[in-house]
């Protein structure tokens, strides 16, 4: 077997050192009734490397993908450009095959990268401190809700329905294991109903959770929410789906958010059918000891040279066990490296260009829509909802678009049970060019 270096001679000589003669004697502590016969598992025969490549290539070729279509799908996952350098850097064995940096002297590469990641994410989100990642946006939002309950010692959570439904569901499921109420506040016409949220916050409310830009791509002023939170000593939690937005629009931190969390997938990570992505998690300095997850900090070595270590670990499960702030151990470490490398290649101006082009593609699309397609009101970054007269018209359009290699949007009810089956959630990125938009509009014209 190509991953196993021993020869049979090696094995015999090692068994002799141990003082036994047969490999089976290594397992005499497992009661005989539990031993399975060799080769008896219902698994296929072993494949050679070439056969594995063939198997996976054949499966991959059965999928359509953003490389051979035009992808207008969003809803939490976005087809942004990923420079080759990002994939090269995260393929380096020293980053790829290292464990969590528990021995900092020989993990300074991972640790300095984490520190740079934390700093850049903090700046992008306008926040004070950032952890070394959560699994994804949904679990990050759930952890934010739990963190807010710990900080405020209050039990009620208010969530806007304009938060991504997957994030809402995971948050609801996490919260349902604990005492306390989780209230969802309806939205108005594909935008966040700030007034209704303000009205829903009371003195028992630990946090109000909103998405910005929201699930429908709508951008809005968070100031009234900050004021309502202050009035009720409640935390403002802001989540986001496409972190590229903050290259252009005001960061959530600028509105005084207490916790900002969401997906970093847009920053150099391919869509990969849902993972691995990354959950970004930021908060205020004063709450850092209630934050979940690993954190990298700066220090010095014995010679006074600057170095980095994992820190504030007394919050974590390996020290605090049942009293830890979270159970998270493995996180999305390598994806932090991807985010850091991506942001370094982009810089402020590159991030702004990505955002402007993502937004400009949507603007061009909206400008060319035939009249029979209705659009959501308000300011939108790179995502919005198109509405058709009925389900039949929408499905007709989707199939015509598909014939032209366009994935034209996500049927809203696919992500949001109960939504009217005539809406389409549409997203654009810098990977959509003028021709793609023209072809999209042509498909809409074709079914008129």
């Amino acid at each position: 077997m190509r991953f196993l270096p021993h020869t049979d001679d090696d094995r015999q000589s090692m068994l002799a050192t141990i003082g036994i003669t047969d490999m089976r004697q290594l397992f005499t502590d497992i009661p005989g009734e539990f031993h399975i016969s060799k080769g008896n598992l219902q698994l296929p025969e072993a494949l050679s490397e070439a056969a594995i490549v063939r198997k996976f290539t054949q499966a991959a070729e059965r999928n359509r993908h953003a490389g051979n279509t035009r992808c207008f799908l969003g809803g939490g996952t976005y087809h942004h450009f990923v420079p080759a350098v990002v994939d090269y850097v995260i393929s380096r064995g020293e980053f790829l095959t290292a464990y969590t940096p528990y021995q900092p002297e020989i993990a300074q590469g991972t640790l300095q990268t984490l520190f740079e990641f934390q700093t850049m994410v903090a700046r992008l989100l306008g926040m004070e401190v950032v952890n070394a990642s959560m699994y994804d946006a949904a679990t990050a939002v759930a952890e934010a809700a739990l963190m807010a309950k710990r900080i405020t010692r209050k039990s009620r959570t208010v969530v806007a329905v304009s938060v991504n439904p997957r994030c809402r569901e995971v948050t609801r499921n996490y919260l349902s294991q604990q005492q306390g109420e989780c209230v969802e506040v309806a939205c108005a016409d594909f935008s966040t109903d700030v007034d209704a949220l303000v009205a829903a916050i009371d003195d028992q409310t630990a946090s109000v959770i909103v998405q910005y830009p929201d699930f429908y791509g709508s951008v809005y002023d968070l100031t009234p929410l900050r004021e309502a939170c202050d009035a009720h000593r409640c935390l403002l939690v802001v989540t986001f789906a496409d972190a590229s937005a903050f290259g252009l629009i005001e960061a959530p931190g600028c509105f005084g958010a207490d916790i900002v969390c969401g997906s970093g997938q847009a920053l150099g990570i391919p869509m990969g059918f849902g993972g691995p992505h990354i959950g970004l998690f930021a908060c205020r300095q004063k709450h850092v000891r209630q934050m979940p997850g690993r954190i990298c900090g700066m220090t010095e070595d014995l010679d006074g040279k600057r170095g980095f270590v994992l820190t504030l670990s007394t919050r974590e499960q390996h020290i605090r066990r049942e009293k830890a702030t979270s159970n998270i151990c493995s996180n999305q470490g390598l994806m932090c490296t991807a985010n850091a490398c991506y942001m370094t290649l982009m810089g402020d101006s590159g991030l702004e260009q990505v955002a402007r082009r993502s937004a400009a593609a949507l603007q061009k699309l909206l400008g060319g829509l035939p009249e029979y397609v209705k659009t959501a009101a308000g300011a939108h970054y790179n995502e919005t909802v198109l509405s058709f007269a009925d389900e039949k018209t929408r499905q007709h359009f989707l199939s015509v678009a598909r014939e032209n290699d366009i994935f034209a949007g996500i049927a809203l009810e696919q992500m949001m049970a109960g939504a009217d089956a005539r809406h389409l959630l549409v997203a654009t990125t810098e990977m959509i060019d003028e021709q793609d938009v023209d072809d999209y509009i042509a498909a809409l014209e074709a079914i008129r």
């Binding site: 090696d10 464990y99 700066m298 998270i328």
Partner: protein, 497 residues
């Protein structure tokens, strides 16, 4: 073997400043595609007033920055990495290649199901394989890591009891040797933990277990082999006792590498098991993640599995979103697909013929290391170990040398240290897990190093141990300062944040 067989040297090492300390001139390193027209006027009011201050570097500078940083890291590709309970085995390069196929890397999770049949087929097949390996046929791929799998499992167990109207069961028994994630996950599922003291032989104390079983017990969380590297040979009786008391047994699959292809947790009476594919099935650890922690369950718990999940209907793979008794979603998608596909490729490479060889060679290697070191290092629980062996610093401490010193000395000799000070139930623990992908030559180099360190202790030649490490890029780092005055982001004015 002579000492100069050890591989660490001071090679050409570059200091590399933080990105924020460099001069930034390049506008952007990247020429972007896309639409370069106007943005909507309605967005103007929301445009950032100040830039984020993300420093941009040109492409050559970016590559050099991160390559230099990478060179300060030790990875499994660089050298031996015997971290106990972490299963640091070789990560096949072909698995990196296949997940980058465009038809897998650039697939959107909300694409129409008929356009993703290829990836669904691979994931469904993996569900079947993991169920077969665990002896627990129903599998969710959603959990993103081992601890996340524990949470999903405990939520299912809680839902199972509640569905039977048995809603007084809120107590979870956790051995004191367990990973810290176990109690933390139980609490996150709204349950209370009770710690079960280990017996003098490092295994579950059956009397202590019996004393804690009752109508309030939801589950026992058990790692088998446990974190001392020993197999819980009473596993059949343990599961029976818990079941008889109305509880379920949760298996922490972190140590599945010792059993894979040899024996199945489901056959032993485990009801629910998470599988750390980043351990047993060789997906890279990435400096902390991503992992994946699929959970396999028996028929009792199947109705409670998270949705969405993948089912096969004739020749068509379907994503099922409804489940009357399901605990719902615990993750934003079907799972960490890229990680899961690497695991599938690893299992495919061994197949039914060779899968057991993983456990055989892993257990052989751990017992070989134990055999070579047991006369010079204290072995708290003598006997056969499984995929990892546990030593302590008891005999070295008499010479003023602690586990930490031994670990740091190994760095100077070119190896990653073992897991130190875990499990918590022995003083000065050194938990060594060589894995099956290490050659005898590597194990011998490690054992020689450990013997040399022990000899230096005996000879009183301990300065070199206390001062270690001397060779790497940084010496011992001040963790107290880092925690007392946390500097977590770079502030241009320097050390205060």
């Amino acid at each position: 073997m002579s000492a100069n067989a050890y591989s660490a040297t001071r090679g050409l090492q570059h200091e590399e400043p933080l990105l924020f300390e460099r001069e930034h001139k390049a506008a952007t390193a990247i020429a972007l595609p896309g639409v370069s027209g106007e943005i909507a006027a309605s967005l103007f009011a929301f445009v950032r007033k100040t830039p984020a201050r993300i420093p941009g570097l040109s492409e050559p500078e970016t590559v050099r920055h991160f390559v230099r940083l990478s060179q300060w890291n030790h990875g499994i590709e660089t050298g031996f990495y015997p971290l106990g309970s972490c299963t640091m085995k070789y990560n096949p390069r072909v698995n990196e290649q296949i997940v980058r196929l465009p038809g897998l890397a650039y697939v959107h999770p909300e694409q129409p199901q008929d356009s993703v049949q290829g990836v669904l087929a691979l994931l469904f097949e993996l569900q079947q394989w993991l169920g077969e390996i665990a002896g627990l046929p129903h599998v969710t791929l959603q959990p993103a890591a081992g601890a996340h799998g524990e949470l999903a499992g405990m939520m299912m167990i809680r839902a199972y009891h509640d569905a039977r109207g048995d809603n007084k069961r809120r107590k979870v028994l956790v051995p004191d040797s367990a990973h810290g994630t176990n109690p933390a996950s139980a609490v996150l599922a709204g349950l209370n933990t009770v710690e079960i003291k280990s017996a003098a032989n490092g295994r579950i104390d059956l009397d202590a277990l019996k004393a804690n079983l009752g109508e309030d017990v939801a589950a026992l969380m058990l790692t088998n082999p446990n974190t001392t590297g020993m197999f819980e040979s009473d596993i059949g009786e343990i599961c029976e006792l818990v079941h008889r008391a109305g509880g379920l047994v949760y298996g922490d699959g972190a140590n599945l590498n010792a059993l894979v292809g040899i024996a199945r947790p489901g056959d032993m009476g485990i009801d629910c098991l998470h599988i750390n594919v980043h351990k047993t099935f060789a997906t890279p650890h990435g400096g902390g993640g991503p992992g994946a922690g699929p959970v396999a369950v028996n028929d009792l718990l199947a109705p409670f599995l998270p949705v969405p999940r993948i089912e096969k209907n004739g020749d068509v793979y379907q994503i099922i979103c409804e489940g009357e008794q399901s605990i719902g979603a615990v993750f934003g998608s079907l799972g960490q697909t890229g990680v899961l596909l690497r695991a599938a490729a690893y299992i495919a490479a061994f197949g039914c013929n060779d899968l057991h060889k993983i456990a055989e060679d892993a257990v052989l290697n751990a017992n070989y290391v134990l055999a070579r070191l047991k006369d010079v290092y204290h072995v708290p629980f003598p006997g056969l170990c499984k995929h990892e062996c546990l030593l302590t610093d008891e005999w070295q401490e008499r010479h003023g040398v602690k586990t930490l010193d031994i670990a740091k000395r190994l760095i100077d000799l070119g190896m990653h240290p073992m897991t130190v000070y875990f499990p918590l139930i022995v003083h000065g623990a050194m938990l060594i897990e060589p894995t099956e992908t290490e050659a005898k030559e590597t194990l011998d180099t490690f054992c020689d190093a450990m013997l040399e360190i022990a000899a230096q202790c005996e000879a009183g030649d301990t300065a070199i141990l206390h001062d270690a490490p001397l060779l790497p890029f940084r010496r011992r780092l001040d963790e107290t300062q880092a925690a007392r005055k946390p500097v977590l982001v770079w502030n241009d004015s320097g050390f205060s944040s």
